[in-house]
Amino acid sequence: MGIICGLGCGTQAVYDALRAGKPAIGTVRHLRTSHTELPVSEVAMSNEEMIEMLRLPSDRVVTRTPLLGMVAFQQAVKQSGLTDAVRTAFVNGTTVGGMEKSEQYYLDFFEGKHTEYIAAHDCGAGTEQIGRLFGHLDAMYTISTACSSATNALIMGANLIKSGKADAAIVGGTESLSKFHLNGFNSLMILDHEPCKPFDKNRNGLNLGEGAAYLVIETAESAQKRGATPLCELSGYANACDAYHQTATSPEGEGPFLAMTGALSKAGLKPADIDYINAHGTGTGNNDLCESVAIKRVFGDHVPPFSSTKSFTGHTTSAAGAVEAVISILSLTNGFIPANLNFSSAIEESGLTPVTKGVGDVELRHVMSNSFGFGGNDSSCIFSKIS
């Protein structure tokens, strides 16, 4: 697996920051916006630095979303040792695509300037640029379901493998900050002007973040054949639709409930088997309440330890599902539950208290990760220790 986000570049950097309880919520450095008052979680590297690190030609037409993707993709492929001798599909989740440059050059496009970025705008364009870092991919797919894109990429990859349409898949998502969606979220009045406080009674919105993460998935048989040691098992996953509202979750959290129960059922697990939930936990009034309601519906009085690591990484939107999948796997393999920062008192209606300080040396067998998107596109997955 590979990752880049505000916390750093690579799984070790991300793990160290989580372990040290050091969030990466700060002020805007790279994004050209007048909203400098809004805290965000930016990746430290500039586009130029990533281009250099990736050894791309300096004049390469590439936007920030695929650049972040390339960094994480390369790490994931390297760690897995996967080559194109295996029939591999790439499933990439993104929504921003090339918007970072389109919003900068949009008016110029009509005057015939910077037109090389027109073809770099759509989501699929970035997928292709990232995918080309791998020898030969058998197929490429791009998914865009807003904040659950990367989790749905993981689910699609798993279904492709199980149905025999691929032998391995590189799955995940990437998203850079853009002025477009920063202003979009701001117009919805769901951005906190302070570091976000997921699951807190006085939560006041989310902080946007950026990043990318990918996982290499394959059957146990395929891993064995090429002598690879899997990190964990993707034991369950489910996608459901809340079918309630474009930007709000239903009060009973039907979509999140169906996603979590669906994932448990696919994994053949009981709620009591889940040792930690990496929650969606954006910090908005609506999400955290509805997610809490749904968690209580699924787990009853025995809610496992849970936290939202968006208090460290910000909400990396289309990449969030993959960023948090990597964090979930780091938790599982290191026996460590990361903290939910900035929490002080529970939401009255639910009374749920997340893990507020990182906990080490715990035995984790099954970790659930939730990703819920605009449009009620809700997905959950479960990572399990290989028994």
Partner: protein, 350 residues
């Protein structure tokens, strides 16, 4: 598990929500056409309609038409869209660039995400099932179909609505014009047969297909399989074709026609000839983009055309690109590619 196309509906630059294109097509010669829209009042109440962009209305009307009379539960809604609701995206972008980063209208942003389409259909149907959206350029619909087919194969679903939706705004037409997507001159039908330059002409497509596992009287055809490939070698392409035919237990000679995404762009069209000639030298070829235009969702109409031909048992003269044998069609391949990068090939049978 066998998967059937039970019904299909389209809103395109041909007469909407019907198959007039099969018997009396509207001739489309030009550079840019917008969809012919039905009366949306039958599908969406006027209050809701005012808040929706055009593409959302088309998506709902085509989906509801495909689902007309269908009572059973729907397990999945999978959407393909290259650009999503680009009209509302542009409205938000223009407002931001014109008025600065203050007091921007949230409704435009809410409709700008690509998954708005699939989720609005789900809200409309109160469908809590699987819901996913693919945004992979010219094969967005093919990717969506592959998602559904994988889940049918795994017995995870037994019904699905698979849709394709893209609009072409005037601004986007201009942007794509800047990078050579369209011909400088009006595209004529003759150019499809003898393409000498690059570029095509723009159309718009909203199409919806209801898939399930029980054939009925109204069933259009069976989907035997689909292969989605990235830059396949000739050998990989041949393998994929053989795999499709092998699964259906038919030979290459039994393929009655191949539907191809010819679009009058010389480079685009050569790919079809190059890939198909060695495998299907004598087979009838069908084209359809002369009727529906080019765009990220156009490939969906290849399936639509093939399914209609199988259901009606004939291939009308105006969609025959290359004449082969003229038997009543039983097996049709649908082959599309995007810039010779993403390829998709499906076998439909009746």
């Amino acid at each position: 598990m066998a998967v059937y196309i039970q019904s299909a509906a389209q809103i395109t630059i041909q007469s909407p929500l019907c198959d007039d294109w099969f018997t009396s097509p509207i001739r489309r010669e030009g550079r840019y056409f917008r969809s012919v829209e039905p009366d949306f009042k039958a599908f969406i109440d006027p209050m809701a309609s005012r808040r929706m962009g055009r593409l959302l209305k088309r998506a709902i009307a085509s989906a509801m038409t495909a689902l007309d009379g269908y009572e059973a539960p729907l397990d999945a809604i999978v959407t393909g869209t290259g650009l999503g609701c680009i009209e509302t995206t542009e409205k938000f972008l223009n407002a931001m660039l014109r008025d600065g980063e203050q007091a921007l209208p949230p409704s435009f942003f809410m409709q700008s995400t690509h998954n708005t389409i699939g989720s609005v259909i789900a809200q409309r149907l109160k469908c809590h099932g699987y819901n996913n959206t693919f945004t992979h350029r010219g094969t967005s619909f093919d990717c969506a179909l592959q998602d559904a087919l994988a889940q049918f194969e795994l017995n995870d679903i037994s019904s699905a609505l698979v849709c394709a939706n893209d609009e072409m705004t005037e601004d986007y037409f201009q942007l794509f014009d800047q990078i050579g997507y369209w011909k400088a001159e009006e595209v004529t039908e003759a150019m499809f047969h003898h393409p000498t330059t690059e570029g095509s002409f723009a159309g718009e497509v909203s199409a919806a297909f209801l898939l399930n596992t029980q054939p009925t009287q109204q069933t259009l055809c069976r989907i035997e399989g689909l292969e989605v490939l990235f830059e396949p070698t000739d050998e990989r392409f041949r393998q994929a074709v053989e795999a499709l035919l092998g699964k259906a237990d038919i030979s290459r000679e039994e393929v009655d026609a191949v539907v191809c995404g010819y679009n009058a762009d010389r480079t685009n069209d050569e790919v079809y000839t190059r890939r198909l000639t060695p495998l299907f030298p004598q087979t009838t070829q069908i084209y359809y983009k002369h009727l529906f235009g080019e765009g990220f969702s156009a490939s969906a109409m290849g399936y639509y055309v093939a399914a209609t031909c199988l259901k009606r048992g004939e291939i009308p003269a105006h969609i025959r690109f290359k004449e082969g044998k003229t038997a009543q069609p039983k097996h049709i391949l649908v082959y599309n590619h995007f810039q010779d990068k993403d390829h998709s090939i499906a076998l439909l049978s009746c």
